[in-house]
């Protein structure tokens, strides 16, 4: 079914930041409201639901479990599979179901962002499967997905050295800002998703689209560090409250 008439194009607003205030009222280093909950799904071994701005994302973990087909098994460690997927209705224009090039790349870099904290040697020949479903997208979905996946892995009891926390920084109207929303992502100058192990200060995901000067990049990296710290606290809080709830049940 081919589309006959295109949706009207959203026009670029004249300014995205006015007097230091962004269109949705945030300051440049302010993060959108986040709601996060662990253990929300029944069948999965671990799960996490996150609302981050208008992003609505579920992450679920199955495993460690047997690997099929067997030739994918590794003798001395578990393999991780990470599938980032977007529901057809998650974006303005309905997308065809199934993986596209963008989601395949995001799945790869997200897997590589998560893998450093996992103690995979404990589960030879098995797999740990992470599924991230974007139910509604509002920019920053890969960072939100990694953040949720990290919580879901902890919820599943997978041995982890630490949590991974992620956020996007970028440049909008020539200024470096934290946590771009959809409009800022569409009409901004640069977008840079970052994932970190906050405790050790290690970067596990770093991508950049658009243009940044060296100085802007340094500023952005600093903002990302602060942002990841903020996200990390939310992740811990969420896991503690889940733990308390389980123990009080």
């Amino acid at each position: 079914m081919q589309s006959k008439r295109e949706m009207k194009i959203e026009e670029k607003p004249e300014r995205l930041i006015v007097d230091g205030v962004r269109l949705d009222g945030r300051k440049k280093d302010e993060i959108r409201p986040i709601k996060i909950e662990a253990g929300v799904m029944n069948r999965a071994d671990g799960s996490c639901y996150i609302e981050w701005g208008k992003n609505k994302i579920i992450a679920a973990v199955y495993g460690p479990r047997e690997v099929h087909p067997r030739h994918l098994q590794e003798t001395y460690r578990a393999i991780i599979r990470y599938r980032y997927n977007m529901a057809s209705f998650a974006v303005d224009e309905r997308r065809k179901p199934g993986p596209d090039r963008r989601s395949i790349e995001i799945s790869k870099v997200s897997r590589e962002a998560i893998e450093p904290v996992l103690m995979l040697e404990q589960y030879p020949r098995s797999s740990i499967d992470v599924f991230v479903e974007v139910l509604q997208a509002d920019a920053g979905t890969r960072a939100a997905g990694i953040t949720a996946a990290s919580v879901a892995l902890a919820d599943a009891g997978i041995p982890m050295k630490n949590l991974v926390s992620a956020i996007s920084v970028g440049k909008v109207d020539g200024e470096v800002v934290l946590d771009l929303d959809k409009k800022e992502d569409n009409f901004g100058d640069a977008d840079m998703p970052v994932a970190m192990i906050v405790d050790s200060g290690d970067v596990t995901l770093l991508q950049m689209d658009g243009v940044l000067t060296k100085d802007e990049f340094m500023e952005a990296l600093e903002l990302a560090k602060k942002g990841c710290k903020y996200i990390y606290d939310i992740q811990r809080e969420c896991l503690i409250s889940k733990y308390k709830k389980v123990n009080s049940d």
């Binding site: 079914m1 081919q2 589309s3 006959k4 008439r5 949706m7 009207k8 799904m41 029944n42 069948r43 999965a44 208008k54 609505k56 579920i58 679920a60 199955y62 479990r65 599938r83 997927n85 529901a87 057809s88 209705f89 998650a90 974006v91 303005d92 224009e93 309905r94 179901p97 199934g98 499967d129 599924f131 479903e133 139910l135 509604q136 997208a137």
Partner: protein
């Protein structure tokens, strides 16, 4: 026999014994649904959406609308396209990849009820006769599979349609966005046979124990507008009329519940 097979056999025996005593694994009556939770409009980006939980079975339906070409034999009618994704997040038995026979059957049953009951007023979805009509995509995203996906998916689809608005302004049509015009509210009810008893809304363990299920879709007037037998079992022909009667009754109850939620939401 693997330990898993033994376990599933034990569970099966247990369910059979219970049913023989008129009981179910979670204490429900034979014609009792699990708790049903309907959330309308969780996906603002969609023209309509609904998340339906029946017990822990969890389905999200999104309705998107685009303008496209009509089918040559219905030049003045909108087009419905229904799709279901059994994403691997929802169950350890779901594999990534294009829809398999189960996902396809699921989507086609949901589609059948909507089409059979003439639920959507397709004549109102013509923009430019013979040339431009609204295409309605009904996408079912299964989030947690604990049995009876058919009823949960159908309920989510019809709730999402009741929640939908035609996005005229987004497509430059000189009209306000308006509620999608509906003719009917078809309801799908499924019962599974275990030891010659028919139990409504089987949970996953019950589905695994049963050999056969019968899905019956009914209109507001109590007519039948779709049926599907699933599973490798058989149904004694004499028992069919009873199942039909129960399904019509059950459909009435579920429809009332759904419409109450919808009205509550519209106020």
């Amino acid at each position: 026999m693997s330990s898993e097979d033994i376990l599933s056999e034990i569970r099966r025996d247990y369910i059979y014994r219970l049913i023989r005593n008129g009981e179910r694994i979670d204490g429900r009556k034979f014609d009792e649904y699990r708790n049903i939770d309907i959330e309308l409009g969780p996906i603002e980006r969609a023209e309509g959406s609904a998340r339906v939980k029946i017990g822990t079975t969890d389905v999200l339906a999104g309705v998107k609308m685009q303008i496209g070409e009509p089918f040559p034999d219905t030049p003045n009618q909108g087009v419905i396209i229904t799709n279901a994704e059994l994403i691997p997040l929802a169950s350890p038995t779901f594999e990534p990849g294009p829809p398999d026979e189960n996902a396809i059957e699921l989507a086609r049953i949901v589609d059948r009820g909507i089409r059979g009951s003439n639920a959507i007023d397709l004549d109102k979805l013509c923009v430019d006769p013979g040339n431009e009509v609204w295409i309605i995509f009904i996408d079912l995203h299964i989030l947690d599979h604990n049995g009876n996906l058919v009823d949960a998916s159908s309920l989510a689809a019809i709730a999402a349609l009741l929640n939908a608005k035609v996005p005229n302004t987004k497509f430059g049509i000189d009209k306000d966005d308006e509620r999608l015009a509906m003719n009917d509210v078809p309801i799908t009810t499924t019962s599974a046979e275990i030891d010659k008893n028919y139990i409504f809304d089987p949970c996953l363990d019950e589905e695994n124990a049963a050999n056969v299920e019968l899905t019956v879709i009914t209109t507001s007037k109590g007519e039948l507008c779709g049926m599907q037998k699933t599973g490798i079992g058989k149904i004694p022909v004499d028992t069919v009329p009873n199942i039909i009667d129960s399904s019509i009754n059950m459909g009435k109850k579920l429809r009332e519940m759904l419409l109450k939620v919808v009205e509550g939401n519209r106020i």
